[in-house]
Symmetry: C4
Subunit: 294 residues, 4 copies
């Protein structure tokens, strides 16, 4: 019933397979970030172009959570599902990749994000023209620049914006460390889903000020595309040249979150299952076995 030995997927693999693991990771990061931004742009369009009617803030929170979860599922075994320079720099901080590799990842992530914005723009052109006509503005009733990247409200100072981005990214990388710390025994097939839950959490708790970009590539790539899509360089100069904040702050917040986890909790986690069973909340009797994994 099936053609043995030459299934198309295997043929594609034989033809395109990149043997160099770093090149394979670059390729996955390029496509993964493209996908991430393409999907995020879709949800932004559905939010902005219907005046929040179809897609509310709750929908955005849940939707972005699933976007991150699924994009990471797609790339987790090949590149670790970074898709975010803040994750990559934390991997440098934790000694898993080198600065040189980091730079390569950031470049492809940014290119992927730019292309993802372009692709999303293509699918929603009709709806954009229907909503805003020929106008391409950052503020006002028909503002649509928020589709591409973050713009703070008037009453948020750049100082608060910076703090907000440090905090948001710190929460993200804190929980990435929680889930990937093997002492916590969360099986790998659930990691991407848990990262998605973390994104939902950030949206629910610290997403109001700026819309939680917490990803330099995701914010800068589409912002650059927006210049060419008719919004002009104001997307960079707006609000006291705010644009650099979601680029720089996450690069500080990421390692900070990892540091906080490892210092306050990870460093004290028991080493193995046997050891755990004898401590604080023991498990003889019929309750509270801390580590009886599946």
């Amino acid at each position: 019933m099936t053609k043995e030995g030459l299934l198309p997927a295997e043929r594609l693999r034989n033809r395109f397979h990149l043997r160099n693991k770093y090149h394979a990771a670059l390729c996955a990061e390029l496509f993964g970030t493209f996908l991430l931004v393409f999907l995020v742009l879709g949800i932004s369009c559905q939010h902005v172009l219907t005046g929040s009617k179809l897609v509310s803030f709750l929908s955005i929170n849940i939707g972005v959570g699933f976007i991150v979860a699924l994009s990471v599922y797609a790339t987790y075994t090949t590149s670790g599902g970074q898709l975010n320079p803040a994750v990559s720099i934390t991997l440098v901080f934790l000694g898993h990749i080198s600065i040189k590799e980091f730079i390569g990842f950031v470049i492809v992530q940014t290119i992927g994000a730019f292309l993802g914005a372009a692709a999303g723009f293509a699918v929603y052109q009709d709806a954009l023209n229907y909503f805003a006509g020929p106008l391409r503005t950052i503020t006002g009733p028909n503002a649509t620049a928020g589709i591409f990247c973050s713009f703070p409200a008037e009453h948020i100072s750049n100082c608060t914006a910076f703090l907000d981005q440090v905090v948001g990214t710190a929460i993200l990388l804190f929980f990435v460390c929680v889930f990937t710390d093997k002492r916590n025994n969360v099986p790998a097939f659930l990691h991407p889903l848990c990262f998605g839950f973390t994104l939902m959490l950030i949206g629910f708790t610290y997403g109001m000020n700026l819309g939680y970009p917490i990803n330099p590539a995701r914010d800068f790539g589409p912002r650059l595309f927006a210049v060419f899509a008719g919004y002009g360089w104001e997307v960079f100069t707006y609000h006291g040249c705010y644009f650099w904040i979601p680029i720089v702050a996450p690069l500080i917040g990421g390692p900070l979150g990892a540091f906080l986890y490892h210092t306050f909790i990870g460093a004290h986690a028991p080493d193995g299952v046997e050891e755990v069973k004898k401590v604080v909340l023991p498990s003889n009797g019929d309750e509270s076995e801390l580590l009886n994994n599946a």
Copy 2:
């Protein structure tokens, strides 16, 4: 306490069991697509017949996700839970089934979808009459044709509609390939749930233009039923004979999504667990073991 050896479920099995695997799969696809459309029609009725009050777009996204997840759970071991010609043609493209088998699947899927629409119509007849009286229209304040199949808004060109359907189905099959690629180590009992998450994702990101049918059988079967349910042949002629777009475009988008996954990511995924552990994001130390499955 139980009657050994002759449990009713086993008796049914002995009586009806289809030994031919292809016939068994056809039977499961027929009933599974019936169920899928019956449930989708239910959620559409709750959306349309209450003026979006009970069931919002968010509810539709979540609900349709669960509908797909549960329908696939019901049929996954027997027929692979295709329930969609776009999935079936991708299985042809990937060499898992033949063209001849594909045609058989499409026929039963379409019959199932037609019958599912009829059954859903029966349960909601009272509510339909209460909402629209004797009117059966595609547009206007009491329009109810949207219960059965997709109709684009005026400002969406058929060109955009076609692109939209290619994109939506490509996303679907892209992630189906992600989850079923055994190199990604997602356990099979989670696959149907993950397919459901994918549907939610599509709804949140690229569902606005047309309501994401992305399934030729699901769109055509109920559309045909709508003709007999009082809407007439206008359901086919509406918007420049739009009806063929959600039939043809998904058949292109599906294989495209599979191709993109296998070319950009799948082809480069490491072959086995041992190999993975030594690459880009290694796992010695207390973090980031990529593949410590349950």
Copy 3:
């Protein structure tokens, strides 16, 4: 650090443990149905007593799903987490329990439901008086009888109501059979969660007409309590003595759903993992291994 050998939970167990498995199951069903209805009443109060502002239909769907999931988790190993005469009668139909056992289960389920309604009423008395004053009515702007049990809208005929309840319960038991059929390989620790997803599904798709009671004990027990809570016997006579429909229809729908699953799908599922791997959607190559469980 802990007192070995005499942990309180074990002491309670030694003191109260029912050796007779049927008595243990009766006890679990009594408390489990109490809990189920106590929680469902809570969500109904939050819906009705705030004029749907706090808790919308979407919240009800999600909330009831979690209520069922968690109540079943509590009782799954002890009594199978039936909590519903429609489930119990399906177990009779499937040969797992006898008619005599069924009657015992129904009695304790109904008692549990009555007591659960009383307990929920106690917690929300202040809020009820604040919302409706001394009024206790089934219809009108301050109607609150819907907190306790289902009342159809005027335009729903009892005939449609009956069909609706058969359909809803059939969907429920259909999927209960899907998840518990060991040929489908869904691990037992996920069953209660999957039952919860099924309830969400029913709410999203066929919950509009009557509010999907689909549980004779859950509907009758609180209805009886409502008589004493000041609503009088009208809760039984309303809408052409509608009250018997959510009692009788689910007892038909449940076995029907099980029959449909086993006839159309279950009977044709492949027998074991090895067999599956060789059929319709095979798994050599890098995709689509149907049954590679965790």
Copy 4:
């Protein structure tokens, strides 16, 4: 590609690792409760400071569920993820920790909660000033004290409030016992998620009266901070000195919930898998295997 043997995370561990398990648990509880309250404060700010527009009661329920799930994931192996004096006292009641240990946990939990409130306040200062100007009030249109801790509506008597808190905490600890009882076979890596589902459940069902604090540290710590943040001591005297109710009632409700579970259900659960298979809902045939774990 990686620097072997001296990964930063391991270096941090070697430097900070607390060998005394109780001290490690205290450290984790301090940081975990800080995190919990920091996140809860975030969601409260997004709710209150946008007039419920961004974050509705549904969003709060879902968000708080994820906050609890993720905070417990972070601390589960190190301290059991208590983060709540009501959980800690139940562990005393169940014989897992001593009174002396309990007192230590409560102190660090309260300090953590106080600091978490301070940190959340810092991030949302701009938005708070924008919403309420210099006003810091408990009632009225610009009331913001609800960001920090619970305040009952006028029509809720303190008697009902006490009952409400006993009930809410009893539900929480009832289900904590369900999930951690090893006879119920829920794998440990799902426990934190299941605790999160329990929180969602409580919000959906018994969250209306007071906003379900059900955690003495989470309510008292931020309340104390609110005094210094400009609200004055009225946060303690309001509504007949209500403040002690969410401190005392949960300490009763917690053990009550554990007692109810172990008396009515846990005591009667079958001892092992083999035993289960032979009782009430047996598993020969193709259905209803109660305990076929992954």
